[in-house]
């Protein structure tokens, strides 16, 4: 009964979404306040009913209701309860329901926290989000109903969740990622609403900025968790594969990074308005494209659940409607919102423009690399694959190019700046960064030019930021007042940029200094790697709740001192008979030690063993966490709470602009 109830709730949600997409929009067109005022209530209803629907599916999973097809295919009575819950989104239908629920959460959040917005704008924004919800709800109901039953033919037990997904990281990775993906729909909705209203002023940017920052921060966390999961769960110690599905989440992130910077220019200076709108459309379209790539099965990877052409076609059509519709609207309306403000060569605007161009180019190169195999296949040119070397060759120089400008950014001034001032402020940090970066790799023994370059760039970012913070605080009469006067959005920027610097160091150090060795080892043997002695003590059997495993017990020592006891496993899951590698990791701020089991070799109980020494690999994820934290900090800025006052002020600004 509960699944039918969930199905019914989903249908109600669709009806509410249809109303939300149409009535407030009609109200905004006819200036009918009553119709417009319905929008927040409809948004709440959408949240309630998609929440009920999601809860029903979760109950079906937790109660082992194997008459529901999705449950039968993706759960098992032996599965631990927490994984039964996360199995809700460990499959195509359920993850789509999660998509819908999160979209409803965002819609309701906009309805709740934007009450001070003019009703005209709010109703348009919510209507656009309602339209997106219509698309995904009908996708769910028409092509991938999560509540489909297996009656008759109910199996006695389920087929189990894919063992790769039975992991704590995977419980929160999809929700965080979707918070980011779907969060860009808010920026998109604001952009479309602004185009519909024909008024793209600074207040528009101010309204959508906090939402975009939150979405971006969630996406950062989601991608970071995915990378971390791949590192410890896939058993080969890699953390980024340029897999099409990783790219699918990375492209919206790149476009989103460009968007949050371009929004800053639009808000502060009223520039790049049409460009910002285009980026908002672009970022959300890439989110949809990502969903298409992952859900249609045109690309194969761990993430691809379904290979049903009808589903791919549906998303493709929806994508075409969204992209085509919004670009048409853009073409019709964008010229009307041109700006008349100017800036000089040396100015913060130019630096942020560089940021935008670099990130956009990076997005396009990743997009090209991801779609190239599809394109060649469609043209009948053969089955190509584009590997990591392509992406690395394109991506690394682009990021290296970005950092010098990024260091200048915080110190620079809006509108007009001078090279003399930059030189006066940043000559010292530049020399210090150069000196540190060039000497620090000496500590590691063998000199590595790439690490030196990364350290110079990271040092440049760090010291430039430090210099700027110091300048700001020095200008205030007391330190306390200086701290209080500095807005939260500034601190958010500082933290996020520091995170980026940490990322750069982590990525380069771990790629350059990692030592990996695949060996044949048997109990009693030992191997030394980077000064760490890995001793294979014994081979044991292990029995888990729903799997059996061979376990290789290792003791790691350094100079005779015990560092860690590690026990990697080779698991065989009982329900699905799948084999899985469970790596053992001793994590540290400056190095990770990683052991994974391959397969038995020969008859004498020997195993293929993979030993890794990975320096500074944590810096990458810590950096990503810092970036996300920075994104969240910006949102508490007081400025965003004074929206009403600001919106009237900027209306005056526009009037003045029109006179000029």
């Amino acid at each position: 009964m509960i699944p039918e109830f969930g199905h019914f709730a989903l249908i109600v949600a669709l009806c509410l979404a249809v109303l939300l997409a149409s009535v407030p929009l009609w109200g905004a067109w006819r200036r009918n306040t009553g119709a417009m005022a319905l929008a927040p209530g409809l948004a709440m209803g959408l949240l309630v009913f998609s929440g009920i629907s999601f809860a029903c599916l979760a109950v079906a999973f937790l109660q082992d209701d194997f008459s529901v097809e999705v449950v039968a295919n993706n759960s098992n009575s032996l599965l631990p309860a927490i994984y039964k819950f996360s199995a809700v989104w460990g499959n195509h239908e359920g993850s789509l329901l999660l998509w819908i629920l999160i979209l409803a959460v965002w819609t309701a959040a906009v309805a709740t926290f934007s009450r001070q917005l003019p009703l005209l704008v709010l109703s348009r924004v919510l209507a656009v989000m309602g339209f997106v919800a219509v698309g995904f709800l009908s996708f769910s109901l028409l092509t991938s109903n999560p509540f489909a039953r297996l009656i008759p033919g109910t199996p006695a037990d389920g087929q189990d969740l894919n063992p790769l997904l039975q992991d704590p990281g995977l419980i929160i990775h999809p929700p965080l990622l979707y918070m980011g993906y779907v969060g860009f729909s808010v920026a998109f909705a604001f952009a479309i609403a602004a185009l519909l209203g024909g008024r793209l002023d600074a207040s528009w940017a101010r309204w959508s900025r906090p939402w975009t920052n939150i979405a971006w921060a969630f996406l950062t966390l989601g991608i970071m968790l995915g990378s971390w999961w791949a590192y410890y769960e896939l058993g080969w110690g890699g953390w980024w594969f340029w897999d099409p599905v990783e790219n699918a989440s990375f492209m919206p992130w790149l476009a989103g990074t460009a968007l949050i910077h371009s929004l800053a220019v639009t808000e502060k200076r009223g520039l790049f308005k049409s460009w910002t709108v285009l980026l908002a459309i672009f970022a959300f379209s890439l989110s949809l494209l990502g969903t298409f790539l992952v859900r249609s099965g045109v690309l194969t990877s761990v993430h691809a659940f379904a290979t049903d052409p009808a589903r791919g076609l549906f998303i493709l059509v929806f994508l075409a409607i969204v992209v085509g519709g919004s670009l048409t609207l853009y073409a019709l309306r964008a010229p009307a919102v041109n700006s008349r403000v100017s800036f000089a060569w040396l100015s913060r605007e130019t630096l942020l423009l560089v940021n935008n161009v670099v990130f956009l180019v990076a997005t396009l190169t990743v997009l090209f690399g991801t779609l190239f195999p599809l394109l060649m296949d469609a043209l009948g040119q053969g089955k190509y694959s584009v590997g990591p070397p392509y992406f690395n060759a394109v991506f690394v120089p682009l990021m290296a190019l970005l950092v010098p400008f990024m260091g200048l950014g915080p110190v620079s001034r809006w509108k007009r700046d001078s090279a003399q001032r930059w030189k006066a402020e940043l000559l010292l940090p530049a020399i210090a960064a150069l000196a540190c970066g060039l000497t620090l790799p000496l500590l590691h023994g063998e000199y590595n030019l790439w690490v030196a370059l990364a350290l110079v760039l990271a040092g440049w970012l760090l010291l430039g930021l430090g210099r700027d913070v110091w300048l700001r605080l020095r200008a205030a009469p007391t330190l306390a007042r200086g701290l209080r006067r500095t807005p939260a959005s500034y601190w958010g920027m500082v933290v996020a940029h520091l995170g980026f610097a940490a990322c750069v160091v982590g990525v380069v150090a771990t790629s350059q200094y990692s030592i990996e060795r695949d060996l044949k080892m048997e109990a009693g043997q030992a191997e030394t790697l980077a000064g760490y002695r890995f001793e294979f003590v014994e081979l044991a059997n292990f029995r888990g709740p729903n799997f059996r495993a061979d376990e290789a017990r290792f003791v790691v020592t350094r100079d005779g001192e015990e560092i860690a006891r590690l026990a990697p496993q080779k698991r065989r899951y009982l329900a699905s008979n799948q084999i899985m590698t469970e790596a053992a990791i001793d994590a540290g701020l400056f190095r990770d030690l990683f052991i994974a089991m391959g397969e038995p070799v020969g008859q004498g109980g020997a195993w293929a063993i993979r030993l890794h020494y990975k320096p500074m690999v944590r810096w990458m994820w810590l950096g990503a966490i810092l970036m996300a934290v920075g994104g969240f900090i910006t949102v508490v800025d007081k400025r965003y709470r004074r929206q009403r006052a600001a919106s009237t002020a900027s209306a005056g600004e526009v009037a003045r602009g029109a006179q000029a």
Binding site: W345, K383, S385, A393, V394, P397, D518, S576, A596, A608
Partner: protein
């Protein structure tokens, strides 16, 4: 210069500069880093280039997997039921690798017609097969059927 025009110039120059750099990089990066998939039949027919990175995939032939006793050296064959390609690899094979299962290997073909693999991928779960492999198998099946039919007509 008029400030607005100057600003446009800045924007246009930035865009042109960075995108041409990107196009250059992409062209350079694409040259050596894409590889084409070949079914075993085409490799056997000599259609695959020697000394260039390619991918070969098919079903791992039953009984063909030979592991070395004292190292991680492994040799196996993949087939599309028309031809077989021997593959050698040094390292740990993926969890889902097995005889009679689909696999794709990336590497370089040597002049003996052996693929020196640098990477071996296996299917991800029971229902999944790399699409290239599935298509190659289907094609060879269709061809075999066609061959049988012509033979049948001849008799």
């Amino acid at each position: 210069m008029h400030p607005v025009r100057k600003q446009r110039l800045i924007i246009v120059l930035c865009v042109v500069l960075f995108s041409s750099a990107a196009v250059g990089l992409m062209a350079y990066a694409l040259r050596g880093n894409i590889n084409l998939f070949f079914p075993p039949a085409e490799v056997a027919a000599g259609k695959a280039p020697v000394g260039q990175p390619i991918r070969v995939g098919g079903m791992v032939v039953e009984g063909s997997v030979q592991r070395s006793e004292d190292s991680l050296h492994v040799r196996f064959e993949v087939t599309d039921y028309q031809a077989r390609v021997p593959i050698v690899y040094e390292g740990i094979l993926p969890d889902l690798f097995g005889e009679g299962q689909g696999a794709v290997a990336a590497g370089v073909l040597d002049d003996q017609g052996v693929l020196q693999a640098t990477e071996v991928l296996a299917k991800h779960d029971e229902n999944y097969m790399p699409p290239e492999v599935a298509e190659a198998l289907e094609k060879s099946k269709a061809q075999m059927k066609g061959a049988n039919m012509t033979k049948g007509q001849g008799e």
